[in-house]
């Protein structure tokens, strides 16, 4: 699910032992409490050459401990998908060019799974019929490119937040079709805003401890990892979980409630700077 932590010169096994020792003392590597999240910061780039590069939006997602995701949205006209001629097309690409030390096979599988997760979550919150220009003939083809510059755990949440911040209130510009018809500009809107968080669960000394918004070191030692995506009404948009021991139902609902308690803060942090300062 996540890339291994960058331990520098320290051996990975010794680093894991160090993190486990800290967790048994009820401490985290970055000194956060167990139920706190890293508040994301979204930067929007204003480009003057939008029409030349076809770049519609460009955002930079960071949080306090160094996760950095760049999201670039480009749009062109194209044919609609044959299964749904009344909809537009949305593709998501995830690349990680600054991780040369890892196995290329593992990284590629992780990035493919990330792209599928981000795309399926976004199209379940976004009306793709707004991208339709002429039903059955022409539509907007939006390409969301996510570049992982630095990853410190919570990859699914970070990439999803970066893509949602870029696509929310995205303005499709006024353009001309090859047939000469003029397409008016349009604003893209989500009918529900998804926010995500990764929760780790450690079974230390018989008791289970929830770690909200895990980093890469905690994800490598946690027994169970959950990724919860919710909307404004605290409805579940997506839910993924895997671990070394089975979870019972109260643990699953506790994890959802833990993310729901921070949903408003996450949503305001993503949407606060979504309008470019112009």
């Amino acid at each position: 699910m996540s890339l291994p932590p960058a331990t520098g010169a320290v051996e990975l096994s010794s680093f894991k032992q160090h993190v486990i020792r800290l967790l048994t003392q009820s401490k985290r590597l970055d000194g956060r409490p167990f139920d706190s999240i890293r508040v994301p910061h979204i930067l929007h780039e204003n480009r003057q050459d939008t029409k030349i590069n076809r770049v519609l939006a460009s955002t930079l997602y960071t949080d306090d401990t160094g996760t950095c995701v760049n999201c670039i949205v480009t749009g062109v006209f194209g044919p609609p998908p044959p299964q749904h001629p009344e909809e537009g097309r949305l593709t998501v690409e995830v690349t990680a060019p600054f991780f040369p030390g890892y196995s290329a096979f593992q990284i590629e599988g992780t990035l493919h799974e990330l792209a599928r997760f981000v795309r399926s979550t976004i199209i379940s919150c976004l009306d793709l019929t707004e991208l339709c220009v002429i039903s059955g003939e022409a539509c907007w083809v939006l390409r969301v490119e996510l570049i992982l510059m630095n990853a410190d755990g919570g990859l699914r949440a970070a990439t999803l937040h970066a893509a949602v911040a870029a696509l929310h209130n995205l303005t499709l510009p006024k353009a001309r079709l090859p047939s000469g018809d003029v397409v008016e500009s349009r604003c893209l809107c989500f009918h529900r805003i998804p926010v995500a968080a990764t929760i780790g669960l450690c079974g230390t000394a018989g008791s289970m401890q929830f770690l909200l918004d895990t980093n890469a070191a905690e994800e490598s030692v946690a027994d169970v990892l959950l990724t919860v995506v919710i909307d404004e009404t605290d409805g579940i948009v997506s839910f993924l979980h895997h671990g070394r021991f089975p979870l019972l139902l109260p643990h699953l609902t506790d994890a959802i409630d833990m993310v729901a308690s921070h949903g408003a803060a996450l949503r305001s942090a993503i949407l606060k700077s979504s309008s470019p300062p112009q």
């Binding site: 799974e113 948009v237 993924l240």
Partner: protein, 284 residues
């Protein structure tokens, strides 16, 4: 309303498709399993643990390769871009199956007993007619048992589709005339009535009609510790994804619906465990 609602293949809502299992057919692997539920067929083959070089040497490493027997052919003309996107989407679904199976193996196999080793799994999807993640996980479980890899427990995977019940649709139809009350009425109706569940969906049921199908979930459940047949040991791996185009029509998925899905999956896993046990009868 005494007539029971049936699906298009004649099954009830909580009835699984026919299961078929063959093991030990691929002789070049340590363990193999050919498993199908309905038309969805997956072949899983296990090699290892064998000695290999890797960074984390304290436990066994897991490599899962997912392939498909039939891929979308290439196309030309204006459809080429759409066909390439579908091929890419299929490759990403293979990566999703890969991640899901890797998480299942890490949860089940006692990897710490094999340091400096690699467990290699080759999964080939022969046909995909829905519930692909659960069929692949069940095939993998049988292949691991056939290879003699030590496992903590046996697991069974179940896929469930949640959709809005049909009783709400006649009430929603008259209220569409009043445009202001329609979204509130539909959201109130959807929140009051619990979601109906379909067990072991086909591909058509997974895609749904775009309005009433809310979510598709796959749960991997472990066997109970005391070996009783009326309960399972909990959820090991789970994946829930809401369907596109349904949340605009008030299709909300709450924690209660998740609890109901897990409860139904636990009851369905008992039948899969008994199916595994019956297949373990030695030949005479």
């Amino acid at each position: 309303m005494s007539r029971a609602l049936l699906r298009r293949d004649g099954r009830g809502h909580r009835e699984m498709r026919g299961k078929e299992l063959r093991t030990s057919e691929l002789t070049q692997f340590d363990g193999s399993a050919w498993y199908s539920q309905g038309l969805t067929t997956v072949v899983a083959a296990v090699n290892g643990p064998v000695a290999a070089r890797q960074e984390d040497y304290r436990k066994c490493n897991v490599q899962v390769y997912v392939n498909r027997a039939v891929r979308i052919p290439r196309a030309g003309g204006t459809d080429r871009l759409c066909v390439e996107e579908q091929r890419l989407e299929q490759q990403r679904m293979d990566a999703e199956v890969e991640m899901f199976l890797t998480a299942s193996i890490q949860a089940v196999v006692r990897l710490d007993q094999f340091p400096r080793c690699v467990l290699e799994v080759h999964v080939t999807i022969l046909a995909d007619d829905g519930a692909l993640l659960s069929v692949a996980t069940n095939a993998l479980m049988c292949a691991l048992l056939d290879a003699g890899v030590p496992c903590r427990t046996t697991v069974a995977a179940v896929t469930i589709v949640a959709f809005a019940p049909e009783d709400g649709s006649p009430v929603t139809a008259p209220t569409t005339t009043t445009t202001k009350a329609a979204p509130e009425a539909s959201s109130l109706l959807s929140s009051s009535l619990p979601l109906a569940l379909l067990l072991d969906p086909t591909r058509v049921e997974e895609v749904g009609d775009g309005v009433r199908t809310c979510a598709t979930a796959t749960f991997v459940l472990s066997n109970s510790v005391d070996g009783s047949n009326n309960s399972s040991g909990g959820v090991l791996v789970s994946q829930l994804q809401t369907c596109p185009r349904s949340s605009m029509h008030g299709g909300r998925m709450s924690s209660k619906d998740l609890v109901g899905m897990v409860a139904l999956a636990e009851r369905a896993a008992v039948s899969i465990f008994s199916f595994f046990r019956k297949c373990n009868v030695p030949l005479e």
